[in-house]
């Protein structure tokens, strides 16, 4: 017989006080960043907290739903992603058309390296079961695989940016953007058709959207729109990680002036500025702290034991981390910067990214079994 233990009133009171302290700590961090960097940057940190809390708190992500679709034909997670993208597109595409100077979308060209990069990213994100945002959130919630992969993700992003022009010289199309009312209609039709395909391919009985997914999609969309309006640019992840690694390289005395990307005046300017004034860095930091906060709030997640893996698994995690960072730079973004923000701001490369990365995910799932991250 199972005995249910009712928490004591004293325990409940301590938990309430502890949670209030958590919220106050987050607000103090936002106030500190606002005071020492600027209020806009404080708001961006707050948005990052929001992303982390929603992604971890509502178990909303990108890699997991793709895996669920491929392995179990469960489309709910992908349908929720498409819903969030559609909601953002309804606001972002008209605003970008009305304010082309103040706001910029996630526009990037389609090219050979971009397609290859998206494919590799899709495979690598299934190996560690974490995409750009997922790796940050999972690291914050105590996932050891993501924790090990994260610094290599940053190094890969730095290296990918270092070599980006060699790769783009392989061939790129001009940037193609779906703009204005026509662009919005085309984007929404694309999203509806894509959702319809996944719905049809989905297993009967698992096609419905759970309430938590709908709430998460709406909240993520609101946060992404805030990101665009406050920062003037869409939600991204990878640039910030590469910047952290580049700053580390410079501090350790490496000469990165031979890289066209890192030697450009805009990059030098950011290397000489605080990460607390870089939008993607702030939302990245916020996502990790937000995920830590949710795990602490739940009061049970963090007591779970960490699984042990053989050496070859850790080697695979390191390689996958490097591949995530490097490939996402060639692909002009990860699942957030290219797929989510690309499509929702009308960039055609977001659609191509999605197709290539989804194909890569099939390979990544097989590799995950092979390297010991999954029971065979």
């Amino acid at each position: 017989m199972r005995i249910l233990r009712v928490p004591s009133a004293d325990f409940m009171m301590r938990m309430v006080l502890f949670r209030i302290a958590l919220i106050l700590t987050a607000l103090i961090l936002v106030v500190l960043v606002s005071l020492f960097s600027g209020v806009r940057f404080g708001i961006m940190l707050l948005a990052g907290f929001g992303f982390g809390v929603v992604l971890e708190g509502l178990r909303f992500g990108f890699a997991g739903p793709w895996r669920a679709m491929i392995l179990h034909r469960e489309p709910a997670g992908i349908l929720a992603q498409l819903l969030a993208i559609g909601l953002v597109a309804c606001v972002a595409i008209p605003m970008l058309a009305a304010h082309p100077t103040e706001l910029s979308g996630a526009q990037a060209p389609i090219g050979w390296a971009m397609i290859g990069g998206a494919f590799v990213f899709g495979a690598a994100m299934q190996i560690i079961l974490g995409c750009g945002s997922g790796t940050l959130v999972n690291a914050g919630s105590g996932n050891p695989v993501s924790l090990v992969a994260l610094p290599f993700f940053a190094l890969g992003s730095f290296a990918g940016a270092y070599h980006i022009f060699w790769w783009t010289d392989l061939g790129t199309l001009p940037i193609i953007t779906l703009k204005g009312g026509t662009g919005l209609v085309a984007t929404l039709i694309g999203l509806i058709v894509t959702a319809g395909i996944f719905f049809m391919l989905g297993k009967k009985g698992s096609r419905g959207l759970p309430r938590r997914y709908i709430i998460a999609a709406i909240l993520i969309a609101v946060l992404a729109i805030c990101n665009l309006l406050v920062a003037g640019q869409p939600w991204g992840v990878v640039y910030g990680l590469g910047l952290w690694a580049a700053k580390g390289a410079v501090m350790l005395g490496f000469d990165i002036s031979s890289s066209i990307f890192w030697a450009a005046s805009s990059s030098v300017g950011r290397l000489n500025s605080s990460v607390l004034t870089d939008y993607t860095s702030l939302t990245n930091i916020g996502m990790v702290i937000g995920a830590v906060g949710v795990s602490v709030w739940r009061n049970r997640d963090l007591s779970q034991p960490v699984p042990s893996y053989p050496l070859r698994t850790w080697f695979a995690v390191i390689v996958a981390g490097l591949a995530l960072g490097y490939a996402s730079r060639l692909a002009f973004g990860c699942n957030v910067g290219a797929f989510f923000s690309g499509i929702s701001t009308g960039s055609l490369h977001g659609w191509v990214w999605f197709i290539a990365a989804f194909m890569g995910a099939f390979l990544g799932i097989r590799i995950r079994f092979f390297v010991g991250l999954e029971p065979s």
Partner: protein
């Protein structure tokens, strides 16, 4: 080893990174941009993984 330890390592790593960065490149609140980009009249200027080609082409001659 529990997830609490790995989560603490992630958080500590993050605070060390930010701490070192503040020490090397301290932020300057007097150079902060307007509260919100939308309606500010200023061009978007942040780094982003998707727009680097445009950005470089305006800053590096010959690219």
């Amino acid at each position: 080893m529990t997830r609490g330890l790995t989560s603490t390592i992630a958080l500590a790593g993050l605070f060390i990174l930010v701490g070192i960065d503040i020490w090397v490149t301290p932020p300057n609140p007097y150079q902060s941009p307007p509260l919100v980009a939308f309606g500010s009249g200023f061009s978007a200027s942040g780094g982003f993984c998707g727009n680097l080609l445009n950005e470089i082409s305006t800053t590096v001659p010959g690219q």
